[in-house]
Subunit: 400 residues, 4 copies
């Protein structure tokens, strides 16, 4: 079966194997994951080609059937893209041409691999931004519920990791809920920003055959067509970057939650715990119950900055017009979303299973934490704040 | 004059000079720039204190007058914060106490340096996000205008830095205009997200004296109060991060525009130029006219990823509850906004002064760039796309 | 067959599937690549255990044979680690226990998965640093050879992408050779720094059974034992970081070489080319010959900063004592070395196949590039440098 | 007094103020700090010019005197570079020309601002790498001394922040000492790598007047001349990057030490403390003694990755040949060294003042931490390790 590059003619020069391996990299493996979106957009493209008369009704029918069949094959793991094909776009065309002959050769009319890849990623981003928003909603709900359940259980408030003033478990949980809730606004604006159909921009300069870009916009459910074909190219990498940026608040909050939990589940603090089935053990120390889940979470939170870092570095490292550096943005984007989504799922599970050690929390509210209350009393009696502060401080010094 | 730490009592232990220099760093210099916002929030706080009866009318009057006078002094460069004061918050309290005695000592009732710093930065971010949006609007307008002026002047479209298909100067300029216009959506959502009043959250755990947080929210023009006091603390660093993230699309587009301009102003391409007053010279080569402005722009675009990188690293590197790492976020945020705003101003100037070399552009549209038109003709005659492609490719090979 | 966690007893609590998937991630796939090193270190560990009397001669013999056999199985792709085992260390122990019973259960005496993972990565790093140094040597040689072959062919020297002064192709190629040669010093110092045996440090606190750490140091060819067991743990992540940092100069030079090549292979510059087998085509534009290899190279160079970024973020994001964030450093390190090594191979191929367009280079040396020669003549006649500069500049202005 | 650009002739076009502000940025303020190195290299250049006959003895004498005088003026804070001069190099030439007339105009013979800036930074880097190495030595010594003083005081060893096995304060301190000691190797190799004289490479293409590069190499104490003039340019940014990379292990260790100290100085752990003069207070909570020094240290450690990140992004973001992006590397490098050096000083002070709470440490060694000792006893009796582990684990479960 034909598995060569799409741009090679039969007697054309071959591509040096070292260069092929280097330029393709593992990109074809990413396309393996994304092929469903490529097939979806290919169907929309075929429908449009028929609407403008480039395909006839019978050709369209055969293409749609073949694409549906391919989708089923792929979703069952029975369709594999190989490195020599470079990418999923080529794999689709070759599959269709092998199966349908000339009809398969017609599907690429009015598009390039550039806009094909763009629309595939755009559909991926839309789907995953929505999924992230749903998960975030659930996390907000679970944290709020856990907060309500905690009622008025007190908790020491810390600044600088030193005991500061009393607070409550509920307020602590709600503070994270508020943060996750606020993350939704930027996720939504990001989704609205990228919700533009790039299909039909071809290599960034449109095509000369009469295509109908609004047709695919409607079929694929985009809210508008990304009209300027050069902007389609310009937005590659950039839209991935803003989408991954929208995940950052989630990951920062996850990192902070993880660190709080790691501290508060130490034997020394002992405020919270999770069921044993959430903890792991040691290969040599039989007594260990470790909260690895929060360490992996913290690690992902720390490493996450590099996803936007890489997307930014690649995107800002070149001028306009498609250049292949952009291929590298695909894997980074997939990894970022996978990480954020699984992290949200783990927070959700943890919030639902949180065990609160009320006794330890209560006994941790020690006397000195009430120093501000002392000051406030003096202030109520008319003593200026700073004088009250100094008076309480001097008394505390005597106890030192 | 008293310039010691706010938390030191007269006979308390001093702070080791090495530790003071290390912990304060150049933060007091940042506060020097931000003091106007601190004064504005202090006035709102005083008004609120009077409304709940902690200050009487006369005390309020004196405080407002003293704060206005301080603002004037500061804006003229006549008020300097010193390192031993640690920060602007302390400098303000000491100034007022020196001037007004007990009245000055009362202003810190119901607030901490934590929420004081938070509200100051929040006001800064709101102002600067708005300013960025205005500048971005102007850039969109200037690019669009330049595009219209260019009319139908053709321009070679490049992919992989090799000639691809013909396009126009206008489409190229408009693609950047579209990108900048789209940046506005996320800027707006970011502004809406951070538009919450943290004042009154004190050290993250509220206060026991009866304050009215809605009062300062109204006075300062926030759209709502950030109700959960622990969330106020949690959002420090995080809100700076999302604000600076909102500048990233601008900087990526700036970097790409800069690289296009650097390429297209080389002698070898020669498509565009700017007036001599935009270029710089060499200390040894008298013939040079360099486009340093675009190199600095590209350098800033490349380095910009590290601003979000640093804000992310610091924010995600600690749990909830104020910790002093967060102090370091202030300088990064200031630098990021200064960079983005000045970059927009330079793009604006460049767009308004762009000189187009029509002759060079026209002669750069070479024959092989029309290969897709050849294919499209064959396709119109019913030849399947891939066959048409291969046919044109074989003809081109003969010419090689 | 038994494929459960090493720390689970038969009737112990299971690990929640969501938490297992999240904490294990794709780490077991990394171990699949690294298993050879784990087996090598396990053999050394077995030899040591026999030398101190924990294993007898027959037990050792059986373990060594089983480990050799496992190595062969693995290298043929017939041994697969599964997620439920968490890692390769567990997979090895279970394989041996299934095969050898009690003898297999003895191998973990005196070690933990912590030092087992450390020594595995240490061996990987040593191997790959050496391999990188060999490849770098070859690149230096190839560039030098290409430079010699270029002889005295002139080349315009550019600053700010504008023509500056004449130089030669040879000097340009040699400048990269010098850079790559200098990279070796830090690679060598890095190799010397990490060449320490961590095996026997167990979980970071040693063991109580009498083991002989010098024994495995000798067997595995380390130059010394990493004596302090807590330092072994502290160096995890950190040593990966310094190893990947040592690759940075290579990647920066690669990025710069790629950008030079992308510019100099445009039609507009036209100084160099590579054989057709190094270039790729377009799915719609049959005339294209693109230098994707340099775009992928530039993309990798730009993204590379994030590898050290991630290693730094994870390593500096936690205190001493093993924490599972560190697991995430493994995949980053592997990716970084794979990228750097393949990039060196591509530069090597490009340097060996570089085609020089002497005609274009010669004609690109234009008159104004000799302005410094004009000044130097005046200086020889005793005119102060700055006056000479101004004089030549004024003459050039007349020509503008 | 003349404070214009060095490359402007009297009747040449002016530079647009917006462009001037944008391209110069705050670079002239960095040069203000570095001017001493520029003067040092200028003296060496003058000596060389006399040795090859471009200056006569009297001219040299006057230049040296004027440069010495300028150095004194500068070190007293009485010489200020202004923005319109662009940089310190221009400021020096204008100062000398104003003072000495034609003699001043001769100093720039045989050099460009490019190599002048390069040699200035090279001298800075050499000085600061040496200073860092000295400080690191002191830190190693102080930690070792503190470890010796701690003697056999036990300490709980933690993995995953949960109690693992007993260790000692001494081993913990020594593990950091070992890490800092190992950092020296790469610092040394870095110093050796960059110890090359770039002066005389001019704009990257040498000069035509006969200069003697070995002469300045000797005078300035470089170990060799950086012979290839294009490599001098290529190494700009790159050498800054490798120098700052050499500081990374120090900052990672500092970050980990800071986090350990923050944890171990909480009330809940209570293992260590520092004198009151090392801690800070709160503006509203009079009872607070905060370890801000370690939070600032951790913050710097986290943010430090962005210094190499920025240097890498800028350096790898452009091809060879000087481009002005590189100007931005200067400030980053200065900030990185200042941060690392002050951090070392603070660690030094902390190590020297460390207070150990022996009672809390002893009582923290709890029974379950001896589980591995239990296993080791069983292993000594011939029970295979994994069976012994399971046996002890089952016993522990009974206690749960």
């Amino acid at each position: 079966m034909n598995k060569k590059k799409i741009w090679q003619t039969d007697n054309g020069p071959g591509l040096d194997p070292l260069i092929e391996a280097y330029t393709v990299g593992d990109d074809y493996k990413k396309d393996q994951k994304l092929l469903g979106y490529d097939i979806e957009a290919s169907k929309a493209h075929a429908l449009m080609l028929q609407s403008v008369g480039i395909l006839n009704g019978q050709e369209l029918q055969k293409l749609l059937e073949a694409l549906d069949e391919l989708h089923e094959q792929w979703s069952k793991g029975n369709f594999k893209i190989v490195q020599s094909q470079e990418d999923g776009h080529t794999a689709i065309e070759q599959h269709l041409t092998n199966k349908l002959g000339d009809i398969g050769k017609k599907l690429h009319t009015g598009r390039s691999r550039n806009d094909q890849s763009l629309v595939m990623m755009r559909l991926y981003l839309k789907d995953n931004l929505k999924q992230t928003m749903e998960l975030t909603d659930k996390v907000v709900e679970a944290l709020t519920k856990a907060g309500k359940k905690a009622g008025n259980i007190p908790m020491p408030g810390y600044t600088h990791l030193q005991k500061a003033m009393p607070t409550t478990v509920s307020l602590w949980l709600d503070s994270f809920a508020a943060g996750f809730a606020d993350s939704q606004k930027i996720l939504k604006a990001t989704l609205e920003t990228i919700d533009q159909n790039p299909l039909g921009s071809a290599a960034g300069f449109g095509v000369n055959v009469g295509i109908d870009r609004e047709h695919t916009t409607r079929t694929l459910g985009f809210s508008k067509t990304q009209a300027n074909s050069m902007y389609c190219g310009l937005s590659r990498g950039l839209f991935d970057l803003i989408a991954v940026q929208a995940l950052m608040p989630i990951m920062v909050l996850a990192g902070k939650f993880a660190q709080d939990m790691l501290l508060f589940t130490t034997e020394e603090f002992g405020f919270f715990s999770l069921p044993k089935s959430f903890t792991t053990g040691s290969s040599i120390m039989p007594h260990k119950h470790n909260y690895d889940l929060f360490e992996i979470m913290r690690g992902h939170a720390h490493a996450f900055g590099s996803y936007t870092g890489q997307l930014h570095a690649i995107s800002s490292g070149m001028g306009s017009g498609y250049q292949r550096d952009l291929q590298l943005t695909k894997g980074i984007t997939l990894r970022a979303f996978t990480t954020a989504e699984s992290t949200l799922e783990v927070i959700l599970a943890a919030a639902r299973s949180l065990e609160i050690n009320e006794l330890r929390l209560k006994s941790a509210i020690t006397q000195e934490m009430l120093s501000v209350t002392e000051i406030d009393k003096l202030v109520s009696n008319g003593i200026p704040f700073r004088d009250a502060y100094n008076q309480v401080k001097l008394e505390l010094h005597k106890l030192d």
